[in-house]
């Protein structure tokens, strides 16, 4: 077995801190969350993505990995006891990079009875910034927030807009870039 990168140095405190960070990011779309742990990151995942995996993934949540994230499969099995899903539609969590993200409708969008069972997509992008070209509106945002998300394929926002009419079904997305994360729950409207 290949020598593995370590997980959280202090599993309880580090996972609680990361959970709080992603919870705040989901509750306040447009604000950036920062992750300092884990100290070592596996191949295929950035630090924020690795922290989300260690915090949210366990043996009950099937994970789908995009091709660029696939080298992290052993690490996910070791630290999270995670099952790998064969297709995006069977995954509770999906990790992918922006360039190779499958069409958003291919993920599990939940059911009208259980919309919470949809896939949460963790999408690695080249850069995240506050005050960019995108305007966010919706729950958790007092007026508007402006963010910049780099490297998304053309047509991405069109695909996401198509999901709005399915509400309460939908897709929650966490964009990650290195140590930072920006959450975009299904309720947030994006313009620009």
């Amino acid at each position: 077995m290949r020598a593995m990168e370590a997980g959280f140095a202090d599993p309880v405190s580090d996972a609680q801190a990361a959970f709080r960070a992603v919870l705040d990011a989901m509750a306040r779309p447009g604000r950036l969350a920062h992750f300092a742990a884990p100290a070592e990151v596996p191949p295929g995942l950035g630090r924020a993505a690795a922290a989300l995996a260690l915090t949210l993934v366990d043996m009950d949540t099937a994970v789908w990995l995009g091709p660029a994230c696939a080298p992290a499969a052993d690490w996910l099995r070791f630290h999270c006891s995670a099952r790998l899903a064969a297709s995006p539609a069977a995954a509770r969590f999906a990790f992918a990079t922006a360039g190779e993200c499958p069409p958003l409708a291919q993920f599990d969008l939940g059911t009208n009875e259980y919309p919470d069972q949809s896939t949460t997509l963790v999408l690695e992008v080249p850069g995240l910034a506050r005050g960019g070209a995108l305007t966010l509106r919706g729950p958790g945002i007092e007026t508007v927030e402006h963010v910049g998300i780099a490297g998304l394929p053309s047509g991405f926002w069109g695909q996401r807009d198509m999901l709005h009419e399915l509400f309460p079904r939908g897709l929650d997305i966490v964009f990650v870039a290195g140590n930072t994360a920006l959450a975009l729950p299904r309720t947030t409207r994006v313009e620009g």
Binding site: M1, A3, M4, A6, G7, A9, P11
Partner: protein, 158 residues
């Protein structure tokens, strides 16, 4: 009482069998024995935790009924730890699993496993010593039990 499920991919492989032997010896060593074995090896190489020592419950299964069906008969406190030897990037990972909640013991078992995977001869000698001590303990207990053995050969039915 152990229920072991052989992995068809590695069953019968001599390297796997050797590792299974020392993992069994390390898991069954008495608390002081692992510390003594590590002390006997002198300076330990630098290592990083891949999984810091953590304590949890392991489900115990056994064939304890008369019919021989597997039965979940309880849980045991187990402490486990995984270390990675530093120095070479592809350094082996050592796994330690011990009963109880002694984190030092789990770390010592993991360090010894990593050293043994590297072919450390001093560690291999310590395993031989631990195995002999365990065999002696079992033999002593068997001898003590044998003194209370009752022979029923006179109770042959007519």
């Amino acid at each position: 009482m152990t229920v072991s499920v052989p992995d068809p991919a590695t069953a019968g492989d001599p390297a796997t069998a050797a590792r299974q032997r020392w993992m069994r010896v390390l898991a069954k060593a008495m608390p002081g024995e692992l510390a003594a074995a590590c002390a006997a090896l002198g300076q330990m190489p630098r290592a990083a935790f891949v999984r810091p020592p953590e304590t949890g419950l392991a489900l115990l299964r056994g064939r304890i009924g008369g019919r021989g069906a597997p039965f979940n008969f309880g849980e045991a406190t187990v402490t486990r730890c995984v270390v990675r030897l530093e120095g070479d990037a592809a350094g082996p990972m050592g796994f330690g699993y011990v009963m109880g909640r002694d984190k030092n013991r789990a770390e010592q078992a993991a360090m010894l496993d990593a050293l043994l995977q590297r072919g450390n001869e001093g560690a291999a000698r310590q395993i031989d010593k631990l195995e002999a001590a365990q065999a002696a303990r079992i033999a002593a207990q068997a001898a003590r039990a044998a003194t209370s053995k009752v022979d029923f050969f006179t109770l042959v039915r007519e």
